[in-house]
């Protein structure tokens, strides 16, 4: 049985809030130029199935920028918080999403 964890997160201004329960995956950090250009430094990501993410507020405030021919980056249009990396046009990865770890409320192991 996969160990799962509950999570909650929000952007800096609080307009966008989300939660869910998903497999307890270790965090990965991406050092590519795109991620560093987007968030000043490497992107700390928690990856989970897209279906396990639920918005509780401000889903309409999330703006997506298509940063490549297979992925888009979601951010809060009000405060600019970098929230999601989603390979929505990738055949294998489209059903997963990466959440910016800094947006999560609880401390992760």
């Amino acid at each position: 049985m996969t160990k799962t964890m509950e999570f909650k997160g929000r952007c800096l201004c609080g307009e966008v809030a989300f939660e869910g329960e998903a497999p307890d995956e270790p965090i990965s950090t991406c050092h590519c130029k795109q991620c560093r250009q987007w968030g000043s430094g490497p992107f700390d990501a928690y990856s989970l199935p897209l279906k396990n993410l639920q918005f509780t507020a401000g889903e309409d405030a999330v703006k997506y920028y298509e940063s490549s021919d297979f992925a888009r980056r979601g951010f809060c249009s009000k405060c600019g918080s970098n929230l999601f990396w989603h390979a929505d046009r990738h055949p294998q990865w489209k059903d997963r999403i990466s959440i910016a770890v800094g947006a999560l409320e609880q401390q992760l192991a």
Binding site: W38, G39, F43, K63, Y65, S77, C79, S81, A100, G102
Partner: protein
Amino acid sequence: MYGEVGMSDLKIYKGKCLCGEVSFKAEAPKKEVGLCHCTMCRRWNSGPFHALAVPFDALKVESGEENISYYRSSDYARRAFCSNCGSSLFYHGDKIPEIAHEVYFSAGLLEEPTGLKMAGHIFCASKGDYYEIEGDLPQHETV
């Protein structure tokens, strides 16, 4: 009074956001990159904010000024980002007299190679619990 006499150590910085709409140029004293581990910076950027101080007057917006959005994140500071792609651009403590003259410019925007090094870490007391701060650079609990 000064350690060395001679030419000031000015550097040309050029940088742009992920989508390329917003681009900057600055001619400013060479600085090092500092990391802020506070919860606000990590919520804004996914992880620590990597920044270097650039005098506000030296920062020239070469394109895309209409894409720069500001979020006032506290009583004393605002955060600039690109409204098209969400790239973090800079932090400006515009209501703090000691630092209002400069912005903390996102190091990730810079053209590479940058020729820069890291200086140290601030707000280490607030860092995420899923990582450690490694190395010998100065670590400050707050500022």
